[in-house]
């Protein structure tokens, strides 16, 4: 959905971690939007239950204080209330489970991808391989992605998040990401895209992404992998299909 009046009210999307951030980053994929909506659904019930439980607690402490109520109650049974406080939470859980399972099963909806990109984790950097264009076993489009050290950052760049070579992908295209590792466990995570996939040596974990808007999305390695675990970020740059094709052509030449 494109907002026709965005030139009147330009929006800056939150696609990277902000200092003191409390909420999610802005969603760029339907999956992430689904996660945010599920979070809102659950949070609604959470607040109701929280207020109810706190109110019961405060009431009990107030009315049964030893000065106000020196002789304690000796109630030990209450069949009706026990049935109510078993059934009622089950109903709440059912309301929570319905959108949760809907989202979970929607992840398994399969669409043939247009592009396959491999992300291979090494200690302290990621390697990306775009092998759809290989005419032989020689890797024609592969590059390493190292974090830009703090001393080399330019004004306006994000500390611990910028990399030298970004993962360029086309927006509004079904992508298949294959995540693996060449040494220890890593995890390829980009919050804006709703992706977190472990990189396990010997496994090729597959995840599908469909990015709905162009932009630059930042993420970080999410599985402890040695001393530089905090210094191997991921930057995904979603561009138009034409720009992607020119980028690939340039890289292949």
């Amino acid at each position: 959905m494109s907002l026709k009046n965005t030139w009147l009210f330009p929006i800056a999307y939150c696609d990277a971690a902000e200092p003191w951030q409390l909420g999610f980053q802005d969603a760029a994929t339907p999956m992430m939007q689904g996660i945010i909506d599920l979070h809102h659904d659950i949070f609604f019930f959470l607040i109701i239950i929280l207020i109810f439980v706190l109110w019961m607690l405060v009431r009990a402490l107030w009315h049964f204080h030893y000065k106000r109520n020196p002789i304690p109650e000796r109630v030990v049974h209450g069949t009706t209330i026990e049935i109510i406080w078993t059934i009622f939470p089950s109903i709440i859980l059912m309301f929570i489970a319905i959108p949760s399972f809907a989202l979970l099963y929607s992840m398994d909806e399969v669409v043939d991808p247009t592009i396959t990109i491999k992300a291979i984790g090494h200690q302290r950097y990621w390697t990306y391989e775009y092998s759809d264009y290989n005419s032989s076993d020689e890797q024609s489009l592969t590059f390493d992605s190292y974090m830009i050290p703090e001393d080399d950052l330019e004004l306006g760049q994000l500390r611990l998040l910028e990399v030298d070579n970004r993962v360029v992908v086309p927006a509004k295209t079904h992508l298949r990401m294959i995540i693996t590792s060449a040494d220890v466990l890593h995890s390829w995570a980009v919050p804006s895209l709703g992706v977190k996939c472990d990189a396990v040596p010997g496994r090729l974990n597959q995840t599908s992404i469909f990015i709905k808007r162009e932009g630059v999305y930042y993420g970080q390695c999410s599985e402890l992998c040695g001393t530089n675990h905090a210094f191997m970020p991921i930057v995904v740059e979603a561009v138009s299909l034409d720009d992607y094709v020119s980028w690939v052509s340039n890289k292949l030449d």
Binding site: E129, D132, I178, L204, N205, V245
Partner: protein, 82 residues
């Protein structure tokens, strides 16, 4: 510009294979690699189907896996049949 248009139409990759529905596609990669070599042994490397299988395994398998298997095949220690 012409190259650009041709490439945009050419964007394709290994399709989803229902024989390998799980998250771990390692078997899919190994199977595709073996399928190419089986096809190459039967029909020759430059056959249309074999080229298709070659594209599939190159898309799915990491470069270092392919190199390792190619070395094993050169040494005669590759565990697959072809």
């Amino acid at each position: 510009m012409k190259t650009s248009k041709r490439m945009a139409d050419d964007l394709k990759t290994a399709p989803m294979d229902w024989r390998f529905p799980a998250t771990n596609q390692a078997k899919h990669c190994y199977y595709s690699y073996n399928e190419f070599h089986k096809c190459a042994a039967e029909k020759g490397e430059h056959d249309k189907d074999c080229r298709k299988y070659a594209r599939y395994y190159r898309s799915l398998c990491p470069g270092h896996w392919i190199e390792k298997w190619n070395e094993e095949r050169a040494n005669g220690t590759f565990p697959g049949r072809y």
